[in-house]
Amino acid sequence: MERLKVNLCGIDIDNPIIPASGTFGFGYEFADIYDINKLGTFSFKGTTKDPRFGNPTPRAAECTAGIINSVGLQNPGVDKVISEELPKLAKVFNKKVMANIGGFSVEEYAYVAEKIAQCEQVGWLEINISCPNVHGGGMAMGADPKMAAAVTSAVRKVTDKPVIIKLSPNVTDIVSIAKACEDSGADGISLINTLLGMRINLKTKKPIIANKMGGFSGPAVFPVALRMVYQVASNVKIPVVGLGGVSRAEDVIEMMLAGATAVQVGAANLIDPCACSDIIDKLPEVMDKYGINKLSDIIGGAL
């Protein structure tokens, strides 16, 4: 459907709906339920240089209209992602995929990016400098404009494919970090990663999450995400991918009006495995209701 098409960093996608990293695995769990080729693309599970088990369990806690997770970048490592996960994905997904990359040093980000960018299936690289659940990397990289710039430059040097930097909301000045990434050669910005949160078990009087704190996502964070997308989109020229609490077609339109070129859907996939498929089906109807002809017309409409 032409009405839903957008161009994300030079690549046309059929619609702006992108399952967010960490909520969609490497796609095939969902391919059992619906044809995932219907998606714009999806961002696969955050991949690091070495295999990681991640954090101790419990890793999940329920919140009002959301979930806290502290998975800690569990993944099989870049070599196995390339040799095992991507070939498996190729059987169920024939579009370009967004490769999500995590790391603990500038060199590690560049190492993984260089390897993964060589995979033909990979359309975009999404560099996660915002994971709240790992130490010595992740969010620490995304909280400082200088570090964000250093990671962006290093990744920029190893690939010509579009590089999207995924930012944390747990910072005082999101705009300065986004601009630092833009100035260092990023092709796009995605935001927001999860908000640092916690829950305490009233019976044990201790934190529910083994790691005590975790990343809060779900519908409750949508207004915060929307505000930050708006702030960043107002101040950078590169495309912004909006995410955070998006669960309905209406949320997608709001995100795009705030300046998002494409929209990621995260926690909703965990509750309703068909969430993204349902949103794509519902978009034309909601667009009609609000007098929207083409989604590409409304990007940044509220700025």
Binding site: A60, E62, I67, L270, I271
Partner: protein, 245 residues
């Protein structure tokens, strides 16, 4: 896995805080005993994973304990209520692995998934001994239902108020068995693991995000690599288990 709307046709207390719920609809996706379903409840963000106790035609029976706000709400649901449910989740028990004599060991709300298992094993002509453990007499449920299947049923209570005083591991000294299946609290699983000499299968529990393998919230380490309790589990083979320190 698939997603279905199921209708509540029964929701009754079995003990002061354990309820039996019968759900009706297209439940064909439930294939093996030990699988679970994940129920969406109004006002709660995450689904509630509950193991399947029995499947007859187009109905599923689940047995759940009220342990928090979600299950408190479940207990208030009336006949006719419709629930959005993901069904056929997880890897269940290997019914064909048992040999001729199976030992089933359940503790508390770990008992329910063993019911459908016992039924399948007895249908397949196996001799089944069921050992059920509870804290106290008031908490005992499903003893007669297992007996009605034709199983040799033994009950232990921790305080000795009913059956044998002690744990499920006190109930099978004189039983010959070729294989065991167990579900219950982790200390019980560990005791069973250490006591039973035969091969067997253990069903685990963990806080889950999605329940179908996407979020990696319920991962555990096994001899054969990292597994997700919700996807490769909840049932694990004895030989693959690594106990947490």
């Amino acid at each position: 896995m698939n997603q279905k709307i199921l209708k509540v046709t029964e929701n009754i207390p079995l003990t002061s805080n354990v309820y039996k719920m019968v759900l009706q609809g297209d439940v064909s996706e439930v294939k093996t005993p030990g699988q679970f379903i994940n129920i969406k409840l109004d006002g709660f963000y995450l689904r509630r994973p509950i193991s399947v106790c029995d499947k007859v035609d187009d109905t599923l029976t689940i047995i759940y304990k009220v342990v928090g706000e979600g299950t408190e709400y479940m207990a208030t649901l009336k006949e006719g209520a419709e629930l959005d449910v993901l069904i056929g989740l997880g890897n269940g028990f290997g019914v064909n692995a048992s040999g001729d004599t199976a030992l089933l060991l359940g503790g508390g709300v770990g008992v329910p998934p063993l019911y459908m298992l016992a039924k399948k094993l007895i249908e397949a002509g196996k001799k089944v001994t069921v050992c059920l453990g509870f804290n106290t007499k008031n908490e005992v449920f499903y003893e007669n239902e297992f007996k009605a299947l034709g199983a040799d049923v033994r009950v232990a209570t921790v305080d000795g108020s009913y059956g044998t005083k002690g744990f499920v591991t006190n109930l099978f000294e004189n039983v010959d068995y070729s294989y065991y299946y167990t579900c219950g609290p982790e200390p019980m699983l560990k005791a069973v693991f250490n006591t039973c000499k035969s091969s067997g299968e253990l069903s685990f529990e963990e806080r889950m995000g999605c329940g179908f393998g996407a979020c990696m919230c319920c991962s555990c380490k096994t001899v054969t690599g990292y597994k997700r309790i919700c996807k490769e589990g909840p049932v694990m083979k004895k030989e693959e288990i690594i106990w947490n320190a």
